[in-house]
């Protein structure tokens, strides 16, 4: 009886530590409207961040950079691991905003000290489905 209780308790503890992920796979992009753009793609386990910047009026000469790695998620917290960095982000509710989004819309916001300046405090909004 005691053994069964202990096993049940341990199982409950294990399950409670395996929190579900609230973040959806897909493509996310920052707000835009400047001479830079960053896109975040979340696949099953892997992520890609693509950043591009350009001189005003010269998008065709843009400079691009990319970060690849894996990601994990527990509830609203996201951890990104690339070859030399670990980054953190959070799924947020945007609230009242000037972008025309519903205030209940979700977005991914990186922490302020990621070590990659263009990602610090960057907010990524889900891209609209194309189909």
């Amino acid at each position: 009886m005691i053994r069964t209780l202990v096993i049940t308790l341990l199982a409950a503890l294990f399950l409670s530590s395996c929190n579900e992920c609230n973040v959806k796979k897909g493509s996310y992009t920052n707000a835009g409207g400047s001479e830079q753009s960053t896109n975040l793609t979340l696949a099953d386990k892997d992520f890609i961040v693509k950043h591009e910047n350009w001189q005003p009026g010269h998008y065709e000469l843009r400079v691009t950079s990319q970060i690849n790695g894996s990601w994990t998620c527990s509830e609203n917290l996201i951890k990104f691991t690339s070859s030399d960095k670990m980054l953190s982000a959070e799924l947020i509710t945007v609230g009242e905003n000037p972008l025309g989004l519903d205030s209940n819309s979700k977005a991914i916001m990186f922490n302020e000290n990621t070590g990659i300046d263009y990602l610090n405090e960057q907010i990524f909004y889900p891209d609209a489905p194309t189909d």
Binding site: N30, A31, G32, G33, S34, E35, Q36, S37, T38, H51, N53, W54, Q55, P56, G57, H58, Y59, E60, V63, I92, V94, G95, E96, N97, P98, L99, G100, M109, D117, Y118, N120, E121, Q122, I123
Partner: protein, 145 residues
């Protein structure tokens, strides 16, 4: 010359907003967009006060990260104004307001009507903007992608 005062009217810290003494709202599009200072802030205030809108969405300012190496944003000499999807401005009105404000060069980057469209205005030539993009010309330089 003193920079005109602004009133902080931010209701959501993710999207800072300020009101000019003329009652026009300068609305930033996120926490990474840096509010200009000094001469460029004065120019921004003159721009929003003279463009004819009650609220203007600003998508670029003094932020130093993410831009091209010689960007005028990083040296506090440029602004980005969200395009026609957000700011219901004509190019003629935007050009007139930018001239009044004291900006000297600019371009409208047209990404086919998406949220990436914007007017870029800066003080001084450089970083890709020269005679073709001078605001002394009768028409604003528009780059379609």
């Amino acid at each position: 010359m003193a920079v005109p005062a602004l009133k902080d009217i931010t209701t959501n810290k993710l999207y800072p907003a300020h009101k000019t003494t003329k009652g026009i709202t300068i609305q930033l599009n996120g926490p990474k967009t840096g509010m200009p200072t000094g001469t460029t802030l004065t120019a921004l205030i003159k721009f929003v006060d003279s463009c004819g809108l009650k609220s203007v969405l600003i998508t670029g300012g003094t932020e130093t990260s993410g831009h091209s190496k010689a960007s005028f944003h990083g040296i506090n000499l440029a602004i980005d104004v969200a395009g026609t999807r957000f700011n219901k401005l004509t190019h003629e009105k935007a050009l007139a307001a930018a001239k009044i404000a004291g900006f000297t060069h600019g371009v409208y980057e047209d990404f086919r009507g998406t949220g990436r469209d914007h007017w870029h205005f800066q003080i001084g030539a450089g970083n890709g903007l020269g005679d073709k993009q001078s605001l002394k010309l009768s028409k604003l330089y528009i780059k379609k992608y």
